[in-house]
């Protein structure tokens, strides 16, 4: 026989998970500064990607400082134009906090694609690394699933000249180095971009 619920006299004070209504929350009356809301064209531009990035960065900035009124205003502005829907998954994914290496690897183990994300090889696959053991490059430990926008950042970083490397691209700089050296370099890139803890 199921136990009877306690009477009001015998009931313990409500704890976590009780059904009492929550304390009223002070409404966030701070008006967001319109300068902080991205300016989005009313008519769909040829490329929606840059605007998705701009909205994602603005949202991330507002959330980072706990300015929910601004975050809501940015989301509403993005929704209002109607043409940014193809970037919604990318925007949402880009709001992910940094994850551990283990979490990023586990995400990549999930079968099938996930919208807003791409799998990234920490040691790059491709001709430039043809001298390395390909089974290491394709091993689960070398593949992480990261937000699409962040993946574009990583790809762009590896392909563009860098003054630290005497004007070489990181891809050129890493050519000829061991798997382990490239792997450690790649982890630092993920960490510094705020993708990995």
């Amino acid at each position: 026989m199921p136990e009877r619920p306690p009477t009001p006299e015998t009931a313990e004070p409500p704890g976590v998970g009780h059904n009492e209504p929550p304390e009223p929350i002070e409404p966030d009356t701070a008006k967001p500064n319109s300068d902080e809301i991205p300016d989005l064209p009313l008519v769909r531009p040829d490329r929606t990607y840059p605007y998705g990035r701009i909205v994602a960065d603005a949202l991330k900035g507002a959330i980072a400082v706990g300015n929910w009124a601004l975050a809501t205003a940015i989301a509403n502005a993005a929704d209002a134009v109607g043409w940014l829907t193809d970037q919604y998954y990318n925007i949402a994914a880009s709001l992910d906090p940094a994850k551990t290496y283990e979490e990023l690897v586990a995400d990549a183990q999930v079968k099938g694609p996930r919208r807003g994300y791409e799998n990234h090889h920490i040691v790059e696959q491709g001709g430039q690394n043809s001298y390395l053991d390909q089974s290491e490059i394709q091993s689960g430990e070398n593949i992480v699933r990261i937000p699409y926008y962040r993946h574009k950042d990583v790809q762009s970083y590896y392909q563009t000249p860098n003054p630290l490397l005497g004007g070489l691209t990181p891809r050129e700089y890493l050519r000829g180095r061991s798997f382990q050296e490239q792997f450690e370099f790649g982890l630092k890139v993920l960490r510094d971009l705020g993708i990995m803890k």
Partner: protein, 124 residues
């Protein structure tokens, strides 16, 4: 119309050109395929920096005020030109950028600090 030569620019004009190109380079970070434009702008920025370097030893210091520019790409580009000639100011700006929000500029700043600490990068 013929494009003016960088040699004909005043120091201040070179600084303004440096900022303009750096801001355009920042914009390419928001492009889905901005690698080619980023690279082209990298070389254009290097050319402006070289024009300053070719002048008196102090010409490059005209970039010092750029360390306070609101855009992180502009700042990191200036930092690389100033580490050798204004190390204190450039280092302070570098540390601030390395502690900033995640992104390409923070990556470049942190990597610069690491390369400096490990002796892999000697600014000239």
């Amino acid at each position: 119309m013929t494009k003016p030569k960088l040699d004909d620019f005043s120091n201040e004009q070179l600084v303004q050109e440096f900022i303009r190109l750096s801001l355009k380079q920042f914009e390419t970070e928001y492009e889905e395929d901005g690698v080619e434009d980023y690279t082209r702008l990298y070389h254009a920025i290097q050319a402006v920096a070289e024009a300053l370097r070719a002048r008196s030893g102090t010409a490059r210091r005209a970039l010092i005020p750029v360390l306070r520019h609101p855009n992180g790409r502009v700042r990191i580009n200036a930092i690389h030109q100033l580490l050798a000639v204004a190390p204190e100011q450039a280092n302070a700006a570098l540390i601030e950028l390395a502690q900033g929000p995640p992104g390409r500029e923070r990556l470049d700043a942190r990597q610069t600090l690491r390369f400096l600490a490990e002796g892999l990068y000697r600014p000239t």
